[in-house]
Symmetry: C2
Subunit: 201 residues, 2 copies
C-alpha cells in the first residue's frame, strides 16, 4: 500500500500550472512550493487576478482588442485618425505599436494568422469584420502589421488581395523587422522605423 | 494624453504572474493572453487551486512535511520503520525518495539548508525539532539526505556533528548523486543506488 506523498491541493495546483503553455511538471512543482512558502496574499492575489480576467474584460466590438469597455478607449478616442487602420494579429501587438507613439490611427485585431499547419483559416480570424468595417467607416489606408513570419506574410497577402478591389491604400510594415521576428518582441526604434518606412503592396 | 492600452485586469494578472520565480514580464504576458483565449474554466480552476493551497494544507507537526493532516499520512503509517529518520531539505525531496520505493522509514523536513550567503542559519531550519525528536523517539539511524551541493553538505556536517554525541548512527546518501546536483532532480535508479550505498559519517 503506497501512501500518497503530496497533499491533494498541492497536486491540483501543480496540475493547473502544468496546463499553461511552456510550464512543465518541474516548473509547476517549483511554483507550487514557492507559493506554499510565500505569504498567503501572493497566492490569493494571483487567484483574484485570474477570476477578474474574464469577468472584467471584453472584446471591443469594433476593433476586437481586449478592453474593459466596448467600444474600447482607443476606438472612443476622437483625437485619433479614423482614416487609417492598423491590422495586427494579437492584442499584445497593439501594446507594442502604441509604445512607439508613432501611430495615431485605429486598430483591428485579427486574433491570429492564417496557418494551414495549425488548421487556422481566414474564417477563424476577424477578416470578414475587417472588410465590413472598411465598407462602413471612412478608412483610406489599411496598414498590415502582421508578424514578419510565414503565417503573418500569408495573412497580409490574403487581406491585401481582398482589399485591392476597394481602392483603399494597403500598406505593410517596412522591412525594419528582423525576418522571422514577432511584432511584440521588436524594440521601439526598429518598430518606429518600420512604421515610418511602410510601403504599398 | 495617452490611452491605457491593456485593460486593468490583464495588467494585474501579468504583474501577479511576474511575481513568481523564473517568470519574467514577457512570459507573464504570454500566460495572461493564453488564459484570455482559453476556456474560462482553466483560469478559474487555477484560481481555485491557489485558494485551496494554504486553506487545505498544513505542516505535519512531527516531520514538517506538507500534508493535508497533522500528523501526516507517512507519520501515521504504522507499517513504516520509526527507527530510521531520513532528513531532507524540502518536501519535494520526500516525493523523490518515496518514488524509489527503497525507503520505508520516516522523514524529517528541514525546510532549507544552511546558507550564510542567503543569511539562512541553523536556527531558521527544523534542526532543533530534529534533535528534540531524536531524544523522544526510538531513532537508531539518521540518514542525511540533503543536497550534494555546498549548502547541503554544510547542513549535513552540522547536523552530524550535533548528533555524534547521542550515539545514534548517522549516515549520508552515497555518492551516487552527481556532485552539485539536487535530490529532487535525481533519477530513480541513481537515487536508489545512493540509498543502498549510504555510508557512516
Amino acid at each position: 500500500m503506497s501512501t500518497q506523498v503530496l497533499p491533494g491541493p498541492v497536486i491540483k495546483l501543480i496540475e493547473a500550472f502544468s496546463g499553461l503553455p511552456g510550464i512543465g511538471p518541474k516548473t509547476a512543482s517549483r511554483l507550487a512550493f514557492y507559493l506554499l512558502r510565500a505569504p498567503q496574499e501572493q497566492a490569493l492575489n494571483l487567484a483574484e487576478a485570474l477570476q477578474d480576467l474574464k469577468a472584467r474584460t471584453v472584446l471591443c466590438a469594433r476593433c476586437f482588442n481586449i478592453a474593459e469597455t466596448s467600444p474600447c478607449a482607443i476606438c472612443q478616442d476622437e483625437t485619433r485618425d479614423a482614416s487609417i487602420l492598423c491590422v495586427v494579429e494579437e492584442p499584445l501587438d497593439v501594446v507594442a505599436i502604441e509604445r512607439t507613439r508613432e501611430f495615431r490611427g485605429h486598430y483591428h485585431v485579427l486574433h491570429g494568422a492564417i496557418s494551414p499547419v495549425e488548421g487556422i483559416g481566414p474564417e477563424d480570424l476577424k477578416i470578414d469584420a475587417l472588410l465590413e468595417r472598411v465598407r462602413r467607416e471612412p478608412v483610406r489606408e489599411v496598414l498590415l502589421a502582421t508578424n514578419a513570419n510565414l503565417e503573418g506574410e500569408s495573412t497580409a497577402s490574403y487581406v491585401a488581395h481582398l482589399l485591392k478591389a476597394s481602392g483603399i491604400r494597403v500598406t505593410r510594415l517596412a522591412r525594419g523587422l528582423p525576418v522571422g521576428g514577432d511584432v511584440e518582441y521588436a524594440d521601439e526604434i526598429t518598430l518606429s522605423r518600420a512604421l515610418e518606412g511602410r510601403r504599398e503592396i
